[in-house]
């Protein structure tokens, strides 16, 4: 076997785990003549830093590489027989074997900065196939693939393209890379690891819809992704795949616009305002972006994920792509798993996979309690509801959304009321302030949750909170407000008991014990009435009929588990 090259995974996650140090040290110690290349991230962030020895016949991926492992790797480069299996990534692990890698096939395998490597792996085959068709036929193909927007709302992509195809020029195509959804990082991974695929998707979209002006709106928090994209765009200009008369068929140019940190700018109309250099506030529709978008020109906006799927569909063929997925949710979806799990990272799964397989086999969530699907606009799905297929409709029925595909896992230590308040704190801060239901409503909702967490809630507050949620959902202008109450509604729906635990019983005189009690028994020892009971290590209870409100227990508790009722 001949060693072709050594690669080091250098996505932001890899670098944060020390991949740059590993690469430097590897280069220093390396005493054979072989190139050391940078690649992106193969998606298994929990195994970073990753070093690959690429031989002509097979590859070896070393996981969790530290400085001390480097001599072994170099030894392995010379004598592959000596490589120990325990140092390698086990691709038979369900984390990998349960995946269907179509769009993410090349991430972490190719050098994201190399145009040649992208082409060697089948790059721009999709574009070439697309331009052989008439633009309208190309849109039909996307329709057949059942592709739906991968950013949030899941709107059918072909339908969206049809809206703009007959609009007058100039027309704009915007790639939405403003991944502000906490818990989602698939766009960052894609742009850092396989940027040409996204650009190819844009080229196909431009050809199909006739949009000659391209804009990539990307968040400023992703410096590495921006740098990688800038280089790729420059290369494409040199290769005449951007500019005038591309493949003799169409004109297209791309500009990068950096965001400045506003979650609401992921919403189409707000994003367009931000592109124009204004405050990113959503607009009422109609007019729809396809009629009157950025600077008043017809505009089509697609997410990074959607566009990389477009490139993949044309490259692999509709037939291959629709082998996966369900009747109404076609193909695959890239999701991110993070939080209280053993395996965190970016994975690509076919729609229709059982949610419990994601939880138990891919993410491996032990002591699993719930997962938040779709970020602040999504909802919590409890353990009892995971035996369902993962697709747009089913997840929506559960009160959550597929959304961007971010999944954050929680275990029994996480308090669901606190989780709901966390999301409200986020949406409250990110509400742009334009419409009253969202601006004021999220404040009031946040106040209600604070009331619960401070043990000030009363009978009827749960019902009032639910009502408030409905009002906001029905009347807010844009998606941010309309979906902001989702985390609250789903946590009430599935974890009502936790909310009820915060409502003080009517018979409480002054003091009561909260679930924060660890059962140290200190309060029972100091109570002059002897009215506190409970087993050691278990939550204690005050017999309210005997309590004389002396406050001895309150002063004795070291865990702030005894609370004084406030009026």
């Amino acid at each position: 076997m001949r060693l072709e090259k050594i690669t080091v995974g250098m996505g932001t996650c890899g670098i944060a785990s020390g991949a740059d140090k590993v690469k430097k040290e590897l280069k220093r110690q390396l005493d054979i003549d072989v190139p050391v290349d940078r690649v992106g991230c193969i998606g298994s962030c929990y195994l970073e830093p990753i070093v690959e020895l690429r031989f002509d016949k097979r590859s070896y991926f070393f996981r969790n590489v530290t400085k001390d492992k480097i001599p072994e790797i170099i030894e392995g480069a010379k004598q592959p027989k000596r490589i120990k299996k325990k140092d390698l990534i086990d691709f038979d692990d369900p984390f990998f074997s349960k995946q269907t890698k179509l769009v993410t096939k090349d991430i972490g395998r190719i050098n994201p900065e190399s145009y040649d490597e992208y082409v060697q792996h089948g790059g721009f085959e999709g574009l070439k196939k697309a331009v052989k068709l008439e633009p309208k036929e190309a849109i039909e193909k996307i329709g057949e693939s059942k592709l739906r927007g991968r950013g949030g709302a899941g709107f059918p992509t072909a339908k969206k393209w049809k809206f703009i195809v007959d609009a007058p020029s100039p027309k704009y195509l915007i790639c939405n890379a403003d991944e502000g959804d906490p818990g989602a990082f698939m766009n960052r991974t894609m742009l850092e690891s396989d940027p040409y695929r996204v650009l190819e998707g844009m080229l196909i979209a431009s050809y199909a819809t006739g949009c000659e002006n391209g804009i990539i709106y990307i968040r400023a928090e992703y410096p590495l992704a921006i740098k990688t994209l800038e280089k790729a765009i420059k290369t494409l200009k040199k290769k005449k795949l951007l500019g005038k008369n591309i493949l003799g068929k169409f004109n297209f140019d791309i500009k990068i616009k950096k965001g400045a940190g506003a979650f609401v700018c992921g919403e189409e109309t707000a994003l367009m305002k931000s592109v124009e250099g204004k405050r990113g506030m959503p607009q009422t529709r109609p007019p729809f972006p396809a009629q009157k978008g950025v600077w008043g020109y017809p505009t089509n906006i697609n997410n990074v994920g959607t566009l990389s799927h477009v490139a993949t569909i044309f490259r692999e063929g509709v037939k291959e792509y629709t082998k996966y997925g369900t009747e109404r949710s076609g193909g695959t979806k890239i999701i991110c798993v993070a939080g209280k799990v053993e395996h965190s990272g970016v994975v690509e799964i076919p729609f229709g996979i059982r949610l419990k397989d994601i939880v138990n086999k891919i993410a491996v969530a032990k002591d699993f309690k719930a997962l938040q699907a779709g970020g602040p606009s999504g909802g919590c799905i409890p353990k009892s509801k995971i035996d369902v297929p993962y697709d747009y409709e089913t997840i929506q029925e559960l009160g959550a959304i597929v959304g961007s595909g971010g999944m954050v896992f929680m275990d029994s230590k996480n308090n669901m009321v606190d989780v709901a308040r966390y999301f409200l704190e986020f949406t409250k801060a990110e509400s742009c302030g334009k419409c009253t239901p969202c601006r004021e409503g999220t404040y009031r909702l946040h106040e209600m949750l604070d009331k619960f967490l401070g043990y000030r809630a009363e009978e009827g507050d749960i019902e009032f909170t639910e009502k408030l949620c409905r009002y906001i959902m029905d009347s807010a202008v844009c998606g941010l407000g309309q979906t902001a109450p989702n985390p609250v509604l789903t946590t009430i729906r599935y974890f009502r008991k936790e909310y009820e635990g915060y409502i003080i019983d009517e018979d409480v005189k002054t003091y009561f014990i909260t679930p924060a009690c660890v059962g140290c028994h200190k309060c029972a020892e100091v109570c002059p009435q002897g009215c506190i009971s409970g087993k050691r290590g278990k939550k204690h209870k005050i017999d309210q009929s005997k309590c004389i409100e002396c406050g001895a227990c309150y002063n004795a508790c070291k865990f702030n588990a005894i609370i004084k009722k406030t009026d």
Binding site: T12, P182, F185, A262, G277, G406, V408
Partner: protein
């Protein structure tokens, strides 16, 4: 690059306002009222609009910051793994409020929505470098090292 050069490079186009402010902030560390007035005058955009944009986006700072800006991630994955306790710990340790700067002018502590490093939560970014899988001890040693 001076303010004027930044403006010239963007040809004073209105849609470049966010980029212009970003580049000036990168140079000067923050956006002073004087800077905003300068941009307003030279780009021919009303001051109120420039101010509106500068206050709308989390990225812009209207007050000077410390030598190091600690951006503590407040993403969901970080939250469920205890980032809010770490944030409170830092507040106490540095004796600053949210978005405040330490008295010696070394650290500014500000939250950031999500760094997209959820797989390595909890995490933070200090002057562009990401620190991941934090706990109190690691946080303390990073901060103490920078103080030296």
């Amino acid at each position: 690059m001076s303010k004027k050069e930044v403006l010239d490079r963007h040809e004073g186009r209105e849609d470049e306002l966010i980029n212009v402010l970003q580049e000036i902030q990168e140079k000067e560390g923050y956006l002073s009222p004087k800077t905003l007035a300068y941009v307003s005058k030279h780009m021919d955009i009303p001051y109120a609009k420039v101010y509106g944009v500068a206050t709308f986006y989390n990225f812009f700072k209207l007050k000077p910051g410390g030598k190091y800006t600690i951006q503590m991630c407040k993403g969901t994955a970080c939250h469920v793994k205890g980032s809010s306790e770490l944030f409170d710990h830092l507040k106490k340790k540095l004796d600053v409020e949210e978005n405040g700067t330490t008295e010696d002018g070394i650290f500014t502590l500000s939250p950031v929505n999500c760094l997209g490093m959820c797989s390595l939560a909890p995490c933070m970014m200090i002057n562009g470098k990401v620190y991941s899988e934090l706990d109190k001890e690691r946080l303390d040693s990073i901060i103490d090292d920078m103080r030296k």
